[in-house]
């Protein structure tokens, strides 16, 4: 569903993402881990067609993102970092704007919105301006927007960042519930999250992939089974090549 091949992105002399390749299939939940500034967000921005890669390419559902961005974007649901939203709209207005922009058929639109609203339990705040909502609700509006059109591919940049433990649990259950029929990539720096929802983990540091395997394999790298030790060891080691 997602194929990334030799993807690189330079910002001037800075190499943010350096020759990254991986694939994600249906039913997989890929946890994208790495310290801040490692290139997680940049990779996701290229995958969703927001940024053009310097070299290499990304394909979503067989469509090359840089070549036919509009078709590729229609297969993707995306929660950008920090869940940016139009604060002057209400969730109801905002979701119907996204539904229209996504070209959902008139008859289907309200059903799809209702479905997303009930999955994220947004009923109580539908007609309040988004800027007055709590952080948890804002994040959920962002998630509702991402799953609105029932996309095959979900890209979530730090979906649980800043949520309280109950809300984190809710979002994780939602991701698990959708995992079967979708390919999901989520970035996080919370290591338990990998255990909780991911079927696979990629650790990225300084723009290169340092680890690619299951959470169990990751845990097996440390004698005590402590994830944060493994993480520190992998991300602070100099690049292999």
């Amino acid at each position: 569903m997602i194929e990334i091949e030799h993807l690189s992105r330079h910002f001037g002399s800075l190499i943010a993402v350096d020759d990254v390749s991986f694939e994600v299939g249906r039913g997989e939940v890929l946890g994208f881990l790495g310290p801040n500034g490692a290139g997680k967000s940049t990779t996701m921005k290229m995958l969703t067609g927001f940024l053009a890669p310097t070299s290499g390419f990304a394909r979503v559902c067989g469509v090359e993102v840089a070549e036919s961005p509009i078709e590729a974007k229609s297969h993707i649901g995306y929660l950008p970092e920090g869940a940016p939203l139009y604060g002057d709209m209400t969730p109801a207005e905002f979701l119907s704007f996204v539904a229209e922009a996504r070209g959902l058929a008139n008859g289907m639109r309200q059903n799809q919105i209702d479905e997303a609203v009930s999955r994220l339990q947004l009923e109580s705040v539908l007609n309040q301006r988004i800027e007055t909502l709590s952080k948890g609700f804002k994040r959920r509006v962002g998630l509702a927007q991402a799953i609105l059109h029932d996309p095959d591919v979900l890209i979530l940049d730090e979906p649980t960042d800043g949520l309280d433990p109950n809300q984190k649990h809710q979002v994780r259950s939602l991701i698990r519930a959708m995992a079967k029929e979708k390919a999901i990539v989520l970035s996080t720096h919370i290591l338990e999250e990998v255990d909780a929802v991911c079927t696979r983990a990629i650790i990225i540091a300084e723009g290169t992939i340092r680890f690619d395997g299951t959470p169990e394999e990751l845990r097996a790298r440390s004698p005590e089974g402590k994830l944060d030790e493994v993480f520190r060891e992998i991300t602070t080691a100099p690049a292999a090549n």
Partner: protein, 244 residues
């Protein structure tokens, strides 16, 4: 087309969701009134036309239009929603056009709300309503040019205040392009051809004809192509600035 409409609708509703729209409309209407009746001497002239009304539009737009256009892209970039907008299945052209048209439609609403002055002049005398209609068209066209410049500059920065100040300055350059204030900068070193080109960019010159009821195709093409050029630059800048 459908996508342009979606962006357009959201953007226009955005103006009315905040007090901005109402503040802008009220101030625009008060200032047009003040300019027309006091500075323009509407009654003292004892002529049944709207010359004093239209004559001040270039100056009124100079600082009111940048206030409308400054938020178009600067706000999207600051709040990060630009990432949301541009990962929806829309093209850049559709996003840029939709936003511009929403701002333009808003100025059309503001302009339409000046209708009492049209009623007044028709009540007091028998003006040539064709001339007045042409004046409105010319004014709207010129407002579009201000807006396109403002939208383009708003894409360069995340800071709305910077977008406002720079837009006012650039627009002032266009307004005064035919006058010594701008031409003296070029006089003495630039070839005459360049000076003539600069002075041909003057908003005042191109607007003057239309505000008096004369539609010259050259003026229409001037404003139309200026809008197209600045919107194309706008799209390019948004694209280049995504990485910051």
């Amino acid at each position: 087309m459908r996508n342009i409409k979606v962006v357009f609708k959201r953007e226009l509703a955005g103006y009315f969701a905040t007090p901005l729209a109402y503040v802008f409309l009220v101030i625009f209407l008060i200032l047009t009134g003040v300019f027309t009746f006091y500075l323009g001497g509407f009654f003292e002239r004892e002529q049944a036309d709207l010359q004093p009304f239209f004559a001040f539009h270039p100056w009124l737009y100079l600082f009111l239009i940048p206030a409308l256009s400054m938020r178009l892209w600067a706000e999207e970039r600051k709040s990060g929603t630009v990432e949301l907008l541009l990962t929806l299945p829309l093209s850049m052209t559709q996003a840029v056009t939709g936003k511009f048209l929403a701002a333009w439609c808003f100025t059309a609403i503001a302009l339409a709300l000046t209708f009492p002055i049209w009623i007044t002049v028709n009540y007091l005398g028998t003006p040539d309503n064709g001339v007045i209609f042409t004046g409105y068209l010319g004014s709207l066209l010129m407002a579009g040019a201000y807006l396109a410049i403002g939208a383009c500059i708003s894409a360069v920065t995340r800071n709305q205040v910077i977008a406002f100040v720079v837009s006012v300055t650039v627009c002032l350059g266009f307004v005064l392009a035919g006058f010594p204030a701008v031409l003296d900068v070029f006089a003495g070193w630039a070839p005459q051809a360049l000076i003539d080109t600069v002075s041909s960019f003057s908003f005042l010159t191109h607007y003057q004809g239309m505000s008096r009821g004369i539609i010259d195709l050259r003026d229409v093409i001037f404003f139309g192509s200026l809008i197209a050029c600045f919107l194309a630059a706008n799209a390019l800048i948004v694209d280049l600035k995504k990485a910051d």
